[in-house]
């Protein structure tokens, strides 16, 4: 088990490193000019442009720039513009000259928002979604099963953002059944944190719950017809234990696989959700940074998102090996 975790950790780190190189390449090797972006369109004299280029070492070889950028993440670095020295402590992900703040500082307040959102989403789909799917599988062929499955199909055929906007409009503003979305740090007030995120979670989660219900139903229908389920029943176990212990454990495997693939999608969904409920998360930050060409911030967000993604995938891998012992041995 330890060996398995170590191996997975190693491959996770190499993915992060690859992302680092690729994002760096995208922004600095691609034909965008960071110096011009920082300088702005108006009032950009040739002199100021050259100044920026020199101060930010943008005239140096790309490899050296990359080394400096990477070193900054571990030991910090300083940026000098127009004679002002900006200190950027480790882990330094660059300096946003648009807002005059280190990128790390801008991100650090926003990471918990997105992580809270995605974590809540995961809990929702993996509990409610899987539970509903298992119930439907147990009662397959009945009217309840058909109603449940066709309604999930209808719901998941409507584009996500329309559902999200409608719920937001009708249930929090016109008929305030649900609390308005908003973010309060968990450390400040767990209750407010929960209430503020409740609607965004529901909007992001319920939608995917319908899909997870269908995945788990399919997987559970198959598992429930396995020979070892018959064996479990022949032992005298109750229907509940057979379904939610013996069958669910195997039935979860394909669901967890889909979940691992789906995490990237849920980060994308988080961007919409943050926008709709005006949550100060990474998604909102990246949207505003895109409109102002704030390259260091975009780069930072991409890097941090990839770390979140890789971390989640790592958790999924470990969960996978806990569910299915055969994974560890192969």
């Amino acid at each position: 088990m330890l060996y398995f975790v170590a191996r997975r950790l190693f491959s996770a780190l190499s993915v992060v490193l690859a992302t680092l190189i690729v994002t760096f390449a995208l922004f600095f090797i691609a034909p965008t000019d960071p110096a011009a972006a920082i300088c702005g369109e108006r009032n950009c004299t040739q002199e100021r442009y050259n100044d920026i280029k020199e101060n930010l070492h943008l005239d140096r070889p790309k490899v050296q720039q990359f080394a400096e950028y990477t070193a900054g993440i571990f030991v910090g670095r300083t940026f000098e513009t127009s004679g002002v020295v900006q200190d950027c402590k480790a882990p330094c992900l660059g300096f946003s000259f648009k807002s005059n703040r280190p990128v790390t500082e801008m991100l650090s307040s926003r990471i918990p928002v997105t992580v809270s959102l995605v974590a809540g989403y995961s809990v929702l789909v993996l509990t409610i979604g899987v539970f509903v799917g298992s119930m439907a599988a147990k009662r397959r062929g009945t009217t309840a099963d058909r109603v449940l499955m066709s309604s999930t199909l209808v719901l998941s055929s409507i584009p996500y953002y329309i559902v999200a906007l409608m719920i937001s409009l009708y249930l929090t503003i016109l008929y305030p059944i649900l609390p308005r979305g908003g973010y309060t740090p968990f450390t400040e007030s767990p209750g407010k944190w929960f209430l503020g995120l409740l609607t965004p979670w529901l909007v992001l989660g319920i939608y995917s719950c319908t899909q997870y219900a269908r995945y788990s139903r399919g997987s559970m229908v198959e598992t429930l017809s396995e020979d070892y389920i018959r064996t479990a029943r022949a032992k005298g176990l109750s229907d509940r234990v057979v379904t939610y212990k013996h069958a669910l454990r195997s039935g979860l495997i394909p669901v967890v696989t889909i979940f691992g693939l789906d995490i990237a999608g849920s980060l994308g969904g988080a961007i919409f959700t943050e926008r709709i409920f005006d949550l100060p998360g990474l998604g909102n930050l990246v949207l505003s940074s895109l409109t102002t060409y704030d390259l260091p911030v975009i780069m930072g967000v991409v890097l941090v998102s990839s770390v979140i993604l890789v971390t989640m995938n790592f958790i999924v891998d470990v969960a996978y090996s806990v569910i299915d012992p055969r994974v560890r041995l192969s």
Binding site: Y228, R230, R233, A234, L237, S238, R326
Partner: protein, 388 residues
Amino acid sequence: MTTPANDASKGPRDTMTGTVPSGGGVAPERNPSVATRERRTAAISPSGETPYLVVEDLTVQFPTADGLVSAVNGLSYSVPLGRTLAIVGESGSGKSVSSMAVMGLHDPKRTRISGSIKLGGDELVGLSENELMKIRGDAVAMVFQDPQSSLHPLYTVGNQISEAYRVHHKVTKEVAKKRALEMLDLVGIPNPIRRFKQYPHEFSGGMRQRAMIAMGLVNDPKLVIADEPTTALDVTVQAQILDLLNNLQKEFGSAIVLITHDLGVVAEMADDVLVMYAGRCVEYGTAEDVLARPRMPYTWGLLESIPTVSAANERLRPIKGLPPSLLALPSGCSFNPRCPYADRVKGERCTTDLPELLPVDGAGAHTSRCHLHDKASIYEAEVAPRLG
């Protein structure tokens, strides 16, 4: 043919007062009307002993979109403690379905079960799921065909065995583990402590089936249903597993219902034999009667289709044709389209009348379902020489 109980097979068969074996199966007390006595006679074990499991007129039907599938039709048999009944037949003859009914494993919403299944005198048909749960795995255990797919791949073998024990005994995990280790040792799995922590995929086929047997016997069941326990195994391992079952039966004194299509297994294991065809019992008697004096063309066909060493150069003699669809059974005897002897019966009886299950020699417990009236002479003159 090694159990002393076999000696009783020559005794009178029309009475319920046979010797009560050590386990103490109790004969059901019922109103002894003439009709029930007659039906009960049919269900008495060919040995004449007091049976532990009594199945009477069992019918299992599945309503499907294409119509009603009658998988088992009017099946009656009984098994005393310490004896082994082999149920033989092709795939789809209803042998597994009938024993699943004994375990109460059919989904009540999708299955119609009628008739009677009595276990130690208690009726099982019509019991609620909760009542059946208490019996399953405790008084009746099942050993399934393919241990590869019948053991849960994601739980350790030890975990699965102790779970089976804890379902029916309120004990701590440690006590259950001790019991499981004991069982692993009993079924001949070396190094039980290490094996306890392993998963089924780390076991070989034979070891898996041993583990499966350990799981079935962990609660000391009075009745063990073994559903083709050796089909998925190598021939050499098959013999070991059969020996194991035989020895465990001697030790626990339980009744065994052995479902198989392998007549070699039957010869080695069974005290009594029931041959099924298309959901019906077509021949029933002691192993000696059925194997040495078979009185039904289908049984002859089964015996003839066994390859023998002496006839190595001959082609196999399969039973021609296919088993009938359970949705549309042939009228009359279900076996008549495949029966090479049907033309020897006068008139159209084979295609119009379903033969009764009658004693082959006018009385006695060896019964068969066939219109032929000179079965004994046809067998001796034509079939027996071919069997070599």
